[in-house]
């Protein structure tokens, strides 16, 4: 960097702005949460829909899986709302 150019914010490797740091933190948390969610859905839907694994996924197994994913997302919403509107 020559003496005529002005330093851009956050360009120094030893300094983060709070905003950049928080952006990275939030992104990583969101990714971790999404991975955990997917892993849970895989487990639940495998259990519910693939009772006897065949040599390929049947049509009914595939539609069960689709419904299962939708229902699990819906269940997450129901639980989340119930947790925050419960009368004490």
């Amino acid at each position: 960097m020559d003496s005529f150019s002005s330093p851009s914010s956050g360009s120094s490797s030893s300094q983060f702005s709070t905003e950049e740091f928080m952006d990275q933190l939030k992104t990583q948390l969101a990714q971790a949460y999404a991975e955990e969610f997917l892993e849970t859905v895989r487990g639940k839907c495998f259990e519910k829909c693939i009772t006897k694994p065949g040599s390929s996924l049947s049509g009914s197994e595939s539609s069960c899986i689709s419904r299962c994913v939708e229902r699990y997302i819906e269940a997450t919403g129901i639980i989340s709302r119930a947790m925050f509107s419960a009368p004490r």
Binding site: C64, E70, S80, A82
Partner: protein
Amino acid sequence: MDSSSLNSAELQRLISQEKERAMVNEMVAKLTSACWDKCITGTPGSKFSSSESTCLANCAQRYMDMSIIIMKRFQSMQ
């Protein structure tokens, strides 16, 4: 003062907020998993029956009730 630089107290506050959000997400995830097992006994349909959705809502609320009882019990033992 450079408002974009790392300010320890502000950063701590923001991290603390994110930590709380993460804990809430974790609780919802755990509870959804447990309540799904308790309430969705058959093959998933194209919508929840009213008994299934009631069960899920009840499950979450009873868990919260239980949490309070456990805390009170635990505190009374200190």
